[in-house]
Subunit: 150 residues, 2 copies
């Protein structure tokens, strides 16, 4: 028996969008890119597609595409063949991730876990600390400094 045909759906006006599952309105992956770019700029003064690809262990086309999107969304500005800079919007996301990373590293250290050895844990967790929870984590780090675990 022939299947009933479905009506053709309206053509959706598709705009560049990142499905925003996070605090920042960006995906974990996008947050990782911004964090990485900020780190590279801090270290080298600039960041390029190739730099980011090396750092995140991705290939250049993958990075190229994400960079274009982040630029379209206003998180960074590109100057062809001479890297990119974060916009204030991009800086804000990068800073928020970097602070979470730093706080988590400190907490891990105070827990007796070498942050270098738990880099993957920290990289995973840092995307899931809400703004509301962050002060609690800062306090935890202070508390552990005052009342050490060992």
């Amino acid at each position: 028996m022939p299947r009933k045909s479905r009506p053709a759906p309206e053509a959706p006006a598709k705009r560049a969008k990142l499905s925003s599952h996070h605090r920042s309105g960006l995906t974990e992956s996008a947050e990782d890119y911004l964090e990485c770019i900020s780190n590279l700029i801090g270290r080298n003064g600039y960041a390029s597609v190739s730099d980011v690809a090396d750092e995140l262990d991705l290939i250049r086309p993958s990075v190229s595409i994400m960079i274009k999107r982040l630029a379209d969304l206003g998180y960074l500005r590109r100057e062809p063949y001479r890297g990119f800079m974060l916009t204030p919007k991009g800086e804000e996301v990068a800073n928020s991730i970097q602070e979470r990373h730093a706080v988590l590293s400190e907490i891990f250290r105070l827990m007796g876990l070498n942050p270098d050895q738990f880099y993957a844990d920290i990289e995973g967790i840092e995307h899931h600390i809400s703004d509301a929870a962050l002060p609690g984590f800062r306090k935890l780090a202070k508390h552990l400094a005052k009342f050490p675990m060992k």
Copy 2:
């Protein structure tokens, strides 16, 4: 100018696989399903596609598809129209997530953050605590119980 044609790539023998970015060899999403199923079984004695869909705020087809995959991968067994049970392999994953959830809830509580209000944080973080880090988190909970933050 006509584009040069690419050689047809070998047909990859595709098997049911979940790209394993995590400790368990499963994705976060798959871990969420197993955690949820285990919780439902604990509460109700069994879990169904509809139960899981309600709980995780997904629609039945989404759940149906993932359940089929988890069954194919040996994490659970289905009895048509009467729910499913976790296999030992599935239990193991569920237990590991549940323990992380419990430890994190306790730590949040001891940090002065109501776990109910930070459910999303905990649900996100629980997938990123490695086996190697878990004992550290357990110790942290004990330590905070002994040396309270407020």
